[in-house]
């Protein structure tokens, strides 16, 4: 991520980097002449992509204008001001795009990038497996070359949007004789084929936001390999780096643009489909915003033990928010961010748990009820049964603590017994 930014912000020697004001004025002029909310979403996006203003920070030969990320943000800002709908950014498509741009062949770029930006193709990410959660490099989905195609067998899990995805980014083991990180290869797989079965995975809160994927002799032609055989881990790290960088984006593109016209209606429908799996995410984070209001409404505010519970949440939540702002403020001054930047996830888990405890105290006996019988039509019970995901999804608290202590505090790794031998000799789960 850091290297990307550096590379992007370096002025290329033979071309002058335009200044922000001229870029803004150029895109405004273009939008004034071309933006039309009565086009179809597809018509508009094609026009936007063809102009280079859809993804201005991408290379010129691939739908962009080779601008810096900062100037790209300025262009996005002008689109927002005009109320103009952007290229499709929902789901994991931008992770796929970043990976293809960095590691893909020209064929990949020509075939995938355009329909990805128009929104015609939906993507999914097939990394996690039942047998390898925190230890992603321990995956056991096999990719075997039969002389013509790569043949896939195995199981993936926690895949958002797989049920309507056309393409998947998939990481599989192609060599069992090498140490675990060296035997994986990265592919782009056609999800609409007989060997790929997608089943919804129901969670403890009743929602089914994710899927399980079963590969039974699924086929991938060799030209859909990304980078080279055995280089899968490195490519996957690119995808994951962008996942961390784009995590904040979920909220912003989940809002969509306001306005009336055909293009808005179609965008609304697109967002509704993509955001459906995320509708319980605010509850997963504990709904700190509801605590005092609920305590006052139920009369529990008068109970000092309830106030203690609420205060514990407020302290953690506000201090975490201010820590985030400290990091941003230091960053804005050009200071090297310290390890405190890695703390937000761990703080969020604790906030969620404390909030669930406080909501339970406030709800009292009502905490036993759900749906229409529960407090706030079941919203409170949804908090109570969604919070356990917060400390697991996107990296467990335990993995976060490893990362913080190793990278932030300079503490040594635990000795490992899984990286110094062929993967086939590493003890592993029998499932998956």
């Amino acid at each position: 991520m850091t290297t990307n930014n550096t590379a992007d912000s370096n002025t290329t020697s033979n071309e002058q980097t335009p200044d922000e004001q001229s870029v803004r004025s150029e895109v405004r002029t273009w939008l004034e002449q071309n933006w039309d909310p009565n086009l179809t979403l597809l018509e508009w996006r094609k026009k936007l992509i063809d102009s280079g203003w859809g993804v201005p920070a991408w290379p010129k030969e691939w739908h962009g204008r080779g601008l810096t990320i900062g100037l790209g943000d300025a262009v996005d800002d002008e689109l927002r001001k005009m109320g103009a709908v952007s290229v499709a950014k929902t789901g994991v498509r931008m992770l796929a795009a970043a990976t293809i741009l960095e590691h893909g062949t020209d064929m990949h770029k020509a075939k995938f990038l355009y329909p990805l930006l128009t929104g015609e193709d939906t993507w999914c990410q097939l990394f996690s497996e039942p047998g390898s959660g925190s230890d992603l490099a321990g995956l056991t989905t096999r990719a075997d070359f039969d002389g013509e195609n790569w043949i896939f067998n195995g199981q993936k899990v926690w895949t958002t949007s797989a049920h309507h995805a056309k393409w998947g980014m998939v990481l599989a083991r192609s060599n069992w004789d090498l140490p675990k990180h060296q035997g994986m290869t990265y592919f782009l797989i056609d999800m609409e084929q007989p060997g790929v079965e997608v089943r919804p995975l129901r969670q403890m809160n009743g929602h089914a936001s994710f899927n399980e994927i079963f590969f039974t002799d699924a086929k991938i032609a060799p030209e859909f390999m990304v980078s080279k055989e055995g280089n899968g881990w490195k490519v996957a790290m690119t995808t994951l780096a962008h996942e961390r960088r784009l995590a904040d984006g979920i909220r912003s593109w989940g809002r969509g643009d306001k306005g009336s016209g055909r293009v808005y209606d179609e965008q609304k429908a697109e967002i509704a489909t993509v955001m459906e799996p995320y509708k319980w995410y605010p509850q997963r984070a504990g709904r700190v915003d509801l605590l005092i209001e609920r305590a006052k409404a139920t009369g529990k505010y008068d109970d000092p033990t309830v106030r203690q519970a609420i205060a514990k949440v407020l302290i953690m939540a506000k201090a975490a928010e201010w820590t985030g702002r400290r990091v941003k403020a230091a960053h804005a001054l050009g200071r090297q961010p310290g390890p405190e930047g890695s703390l937000g996830k761990l703080a969020g888990s604790q906030v969620a748990r404390l909030a669930a405890q406080a909501h339970t105290l406030i709800a009292g006996a009502d905490a036993m009820l759900t749906s229409e019988d529960g407090a706030m039509d079941g919203l409170i019970s949804e908090i109570l049964i969604s919070v356990p995901a917060e400390s697991i999804a996107g990296g467990t608290d335990e993995i976060q603590r490893n990362i913080i202590s190793e990278r932030g505090l300079g503490m040594p790794k635990e000795p490992r017994t899984d990286v110094d031998r062929p993967f086939r000799d590493v003890p592993r789960n029998t499932v998956g």
């Binding site: 005092i292 209001e293 505010y301 000092p304 106030r307 203690q308 609420i310 205060a311 514990k312 407020l314 302290i315 953690m316 506000k318 201090a319 975490a320 201010w322 820590t323 702002r325 400290r326 941003k328 403020a329 230091a330 001054l333 200071r335 390890p339 405190e340 703390l343 761990l346 703080a347 335990e398 976060q400 603590r401 490893n402 913080i404 202590s405 190793e406 932030g408 505090l409 300079g410 503490m411 040594p412 790794k413 635990e414 000795p415």
Partner: protein, 376 residues
């Protein structure tokens, strides 16, 4: 709202830190904590003359340095880190703040310059033997006399009260109750009718005194019966200053824990390579950083006088007290048996953590205040 320190503030912090590293190694702390006086006069003089710290947040018009509350909190944080034994918290953070908030213009001109120069040691005599932190619990009385007032009753837990030249005492007009009828008074530490006793405190690095007032002549500070308005703000500022000191000490506990974990071998490995220790340190780091953010935010809210200040002052105090106490506890735990010895320095910090945990109100008190003061 200021979310980060300016380059000048960072530079100032480094200067203070270098001074503390030089003047307050734990060997020095150990020597001073064994004395009744509790501080080194030569170091106090240097700290006053070379760095001007006692007047850090006192306006230049009253002989101070004219910096703000954020700089005061930077000093507190660095003093906490080094566990400095000096009457800074008592004279500058507590007493001078009280005079600045409650005194008349004339009184500020008369009292503050000598505090700013470090020549006068002042102490805030607020709490009483009841141990309550709510101003309404004040029982000391102030009765009008021919040339002012006389105080009757007692104060306790007065930081550096045994050496203070000047006492700022909170007392009530006889016949009043609650937060009504409270006023601040100034009087000489060695004045008539004042009897002082050094208390045997669990934390020997912070000296506490009990003071008896027997018809002790005193001067009204500011307006009569205005304490109900001025005191809560004075105490909130004091709580944020103490929170800043606590996060400085807590950071030191974290560093000491990691340093030892990367030194100590057991089972053929550094103990810092075990997840049981690493995860403990990661949690400490999280808590210390969150407590810093809370203290910094509260200091900034004090400086900018934002409406959320009373709530965030309590937030910062509760957060810093819990964090420091826990960090000191975990630091002992990570050190194992040696952490429980007198020879190891951790207990010095542990004891300061304990006294800071309850001073100005314990975490439960401030959590309750936080919610009651919270406005969305």
């Amino acid at each position: 709202m200021q979310y980060t320190f300016s380059d000048e503030q960072e530079e100032f912090r480094l200067i203070v830190r270098r001074f503390m590293d030089d003047k307050s190694p734990t060997t020095e702390v150990r020597e001073l904590m064994a004395t009744d006086q509790g501080y080194d006069k030569a170091v106090w003089k240097q700290l006053s003359q070379e760095l001007g710290l006692p007047g850090i947040h006192i306006p230049e018009a009253y002989g101070g340095q004219g910096f703000g509350f954020i700089e005061l909190c930077i000093v507190m944080e660095e003093m906490g880190r080094a566990l400095l034994c000096a009457p800074f918290f008592s004279a500058t953070a507590l007493a001078a703040t009280a005079i600045m908030s409650a005194g008349t213009e004339e009184q500020k001109l008369a009292l503050l310059p000598d505090i700013a120069s470090g020549e006068t040691l002042a102490a805030l005599a607020y709490n009483e033997s009841s141990g309550h932190w709510d101003p309404a619990s004040t029982a000391l009385t102030a009765t009008p006399s021919d040339d002012g007032y006389v105080l009757n009753g007692g104060k306790s837990f007065v930081v550096d009260g045994h050496v203070a030249d000047l006492l700022i005492a909170v007392a009530r007009t006889p016949g009043t109750s609650g937060i009504y009828g409270l006023s601040l008074f100034s009087l000489e530490g060695k004045g008539e009718g004042v009897k002082r006793r050094l208390l045997q405190s669990l934390d020997p690095t912070r000296k506490l005194a009990q003071i008896e007032f027997d018809n002790a002549p005193a001067t009204l500070l500011g307006e009569l019966d205005a304490g109900g308005t001025t005191l809560p703000h004075i105490l909130d500022l004091a709580a944020v200053a103490l929170a800043s000191e606590s996060v400085g000490s807590a950071q030191k506990m974290l560093e000491s824990s990691i340093e030892y974990a990367l030194l100590r071998m057991q089972f053929g490995r550094l103990i810092g390579s075990f997840q049981a220790i690493k995860h403990k340190c990661a949690d400490m780091f999280l808590e210390v950083e969150l407590a810093k953010s809370a203290a910094y935010y509260a200091a900034s809210a004090a400086a900018e006088q934002t409406p959320d200040f009373p709530a965030v002052a309590s937030l910062a105090k509760a957060c810093a007290s819990d964090t420091y106490m826990k960090a000191a506890q975990e630091c002992i735990q990570i050190h194992g048996g040696i952490g429980f010895t007198w020879e190891n320095d951790t207990h010095l910090y542990f004891k300061r953590a304990k006294s800071s945990e309850v001073f100005l109100g314990d975490p439960n008190y401030h959590r309750d205040q936080l919610v009651l003061r919270w406005e969305d």
